[in-house]
């Protein structure tokens, strides 16, 4: 019983971890809380349904198309709106509100196109569940956890081990100086958006397969919880986000199992507020001193 709860918690947590890792990377470079990220996440699952179930494209092609389309959408958002806002030197909150606007538009376009009911997400493989010490385990959970881990390693390598990553970190520290050093700032930022959103889209598809269903409200519920996960682990710190996601998933499942199912959705928000009040840099982040 307890072990089963632990397994369930890890399953939910690995989903949060998966989304949080990609989210964290974009934040690390741009210092932007990107609400549209969650909308693209859900959009990918819907696009997969459209491409695979309605247009009968091959499964792999459908997934790749969904990822690329979502990433292209994010690049459009960056080019059309966020870039001009950044050029105007508007306060950081303008960009946040702009992404809120985009997420509203995308979510409601999906609502308009697909309706508000929950839709089945197709999956081609049939993995049998297995038992371990009396707990039933869905092997897809392991795939999600594995993907989150691989993504974390890949993105850490990308930001700390490559020339591109060096440019990203330079931009996050000082955009002007990076420009002077010959970094093509617009190109790098666009690339960051592309990769970050493709990660979000991939997680959206995996979440859709795991719950075997998708609806537009997931954009908000899962999106904000993964934000809490990223904050808990220290936003911008990728391994922190992985741990943060797992912790939030576990806590949520234990609250649902032992205290009250109704309040389980509040846990992530309570953690979010507590972390920001007590230790804003999160579990793994370094405290930042603001300069005058």
């Amino acid at each position: 019983m307890h072990f089963q709860q632990l397994i369930n918690g890890l399953a939910v947590g690995s989903i949060y971890a998966l989304v949080a890792v990609g989210y964290s990377m974009v934040y690390g470079v741009l210092k932007l809380i990107n609400f549209a990220n969650n909308a693209f996440m859900v959009a990918a699952a819907f696009l997969l349904i459209l491409f695979y179930s309605t247009w009968h494209l091959p499964y792999g092609l459908a997934i790749i198309l969904a990822l690329v389309l979502c990433a292209a959408g994010a690049v459009f958002m960056e080019r059309a709106s966020l870039n001009p806002i950044r050029k105007k030197n508007a306060p950081g909150i303008s960009a946040l509100i702009c992404t809120v606007g985009y997420s509203t538009v995308i979510t409601n376009l999906l609502l308009y196109a697909f309706g508000s009911q929950t839709i089945m997400v197709p999956f081609v493989l049939h993995l049998p569940t297995f038992e371990l010490w009396g707990a039933v385990i869905d092997p897809f959970t392991l795939i999600i956890l594995g993907t989150a881990f691989v993504l974390m390693v890949f993105l850490t390598w990308l930001t700390y081990g490559t020339k591109t990553g060096e440019a990203m970190r330079a931009i996050s520290q000082n955009t002007q100086a990076a420009k002077l050093m010959g970094v093509d700032v617009n190109k790098i930022i666009t690339l960051t958006f592309f990769i970050g959103t493709a990660c979000a889209a991939l997680s959206g598809i995996m979440i859709g397969i795991y719950y075997s269903a998708v609806d537009t409200t997931m954009s908000f519920t899962i999106g904000i919880k993964t934000f809490a996960a990223a904050i808990l682990g220290g936003i911008g710190v990728l391994h922190g986000s992985l741990v943060g996601g797992l912790v939030i998933g576990l806590l949520e499942t234990f609250v649902a199992g032992y205290i009250s199912a109704g309040y389980k959705d509040a846990i992530a928000f309570i953690i979010l507020i507590l972390v920001l009040v007590i230790r804003p840099s999160g579990l793994f982040g370094k405290p930042v001193q603001s300069k005058v």
Binding site: G92, S94, L96, I97, C98, N108, I224, F227, V277, V292
Partner: protein, 348 residues
């Protein structure tokens, strides 16, 4: 074009305000339809909410993404006070305002130390927590069924004045109009007082404000609590107006709607907030009307249009239509320019 209108408005500020007020007072006399009166009531409720958000966002520079939380607390407070304790409308409204004020202080004390963007997310999380509590604390809030049969507004048991029934839309309309006028007068005075100037300086540069001897933290908490209290007032009225509250009204979309109104109308502008509220309340009604000509699809585009307006406003005029226009300053400036010109003419 906009500049000309603003200049004209600045010159005849008092007249414009009086004409608008006269229109608001005569509205139920001019329009008899039940529907139009209810739309007007919605406009005034959202004006209160938009003003509340403008106070904190437009004047103090703190972004709140969870206005619906305070709106909901005010509504539930009034609903519980009137139905469970049998308190009459006016004292219940006063108590609801005090309760939301306290919630504002309670949230502000620990969280206002957080940096801007994070704080916006915290208020969003707070809004979700409040909604979940409203939904799950069944013994207090009746959970998903909501609270029914909340008595309509009255004044210490008096249910009609001058033949005006307070339980009818026209009576309810005047109640919310009076609440709004009182709020605007108080806000206008506070904003032109020491506190108002302190808030504006905090928005301009918190560190410089602190160097000038302003207790930034205390003023921020004060602004936050007043913002919560005004939203609570709107919520309390809303509960008595509809006679029914449940948690689905006070969700994330509601907060975003209020945010859109404030940004669209103009940050740091009282008339801006009212214009924004009227625009966003009337928009879906206009779309519904258009829907009878060009098909139902346009009604479903409502939320998409909200989002687009948010994006376009932020991109092209991030402080809203009337943002950055201080009518009094513009009037003074124009007057000075004119005097100077006259002086120069006299001198040769």
């Amino acid at each position: 074009m906009l500049k000309k209108i603003i200049n004209g408005w600045a010159k005849h500020q008092v007249a414009v305000t009086l004409v608008f007020l006269a229109f608001l007072i005569l509205y139920p006399v001019l329009f008899h339809s039940y529907y139009l009166r209810n739309v007007a009531i919605q406009c005034l409720i959202y004006s209160l909410l938009s003003l509340a958000l403008n106070l904190i966002m437009g004047y103090t520079g703190i972004v709140v993404l969870g206005m619906a939380a305070f709106y909901g607390i005010g509504a539930y407070a009034l609903a519980l006070l009137t139905t469970k304790l049998g308190i009459s409308f006016l004292p219940a409204v006063a108590l609801a305002v005090v309760i939301t004020f306290c919630f504002g202080v309670l949230l502000a004390l620990p969280t206002l130390r957080i940096q801007g963007n994070y704080l916006a997310i915290v208020t969003l999380g707070f809004c979700e927590i409040i909604r979940i509590v409203e939904l799950n604390w069944v013994s207090l809030t009746n959970g998903p069924f909501g609270i029914k049969q909340i008595p309509a507004p009255d004044i210490f048991g008096i249910k009609s004045i001058f033949g005006l029934k307070l339980s009818k839309p026209e009576g309810k309309y005047y109640v919310v109009l009076i609440l709004l006028v009182i709020t605007v007068v108080i806000l206008h005075n506070v904003l032109n007082s020491r506190s108002g100037r302190a808030w504006k300086s905090i928005k301009g540069d918190p560190i410089a404000a602190r160097a000038m001897g302003i207790n930034v933290f205390r003023y921020k908490v004060f602004a936050f609590a007043i913002c919560a209290a005004i939203a609570g007032l709107a919520g309390a009225y809303y509960a008595a107006y509809t006679g029914y509250v449940d948690s689905t009204t006070f969700n994330y979309n509601q907060s975003i709607l209020i945010l859109s109104m404030t940004i669209m109308g103009g940050l740091g502008s009282i008339p801006g907030s009212i214009i924004g509220a009227i625009f966003f309340v009337i928009l879906p009604e206009v779309l519904r009307w258009l829907g009878t000509f060009c098909g139902e699809w346009i009604v479903e585009w409502r939320q998409i249009i909200y989002g687009l307006i948010l994006v376009i406003m932020i991109m092209f005029k991030s402080d809203g239509i009337l943002g950055g226009f201080d009518l009094r300053q513009i009037h003074l400036y124009n007057k000075l320019v004119k005097e100077k010109e006259a002086e120069e003419k006299q001198n040769g």
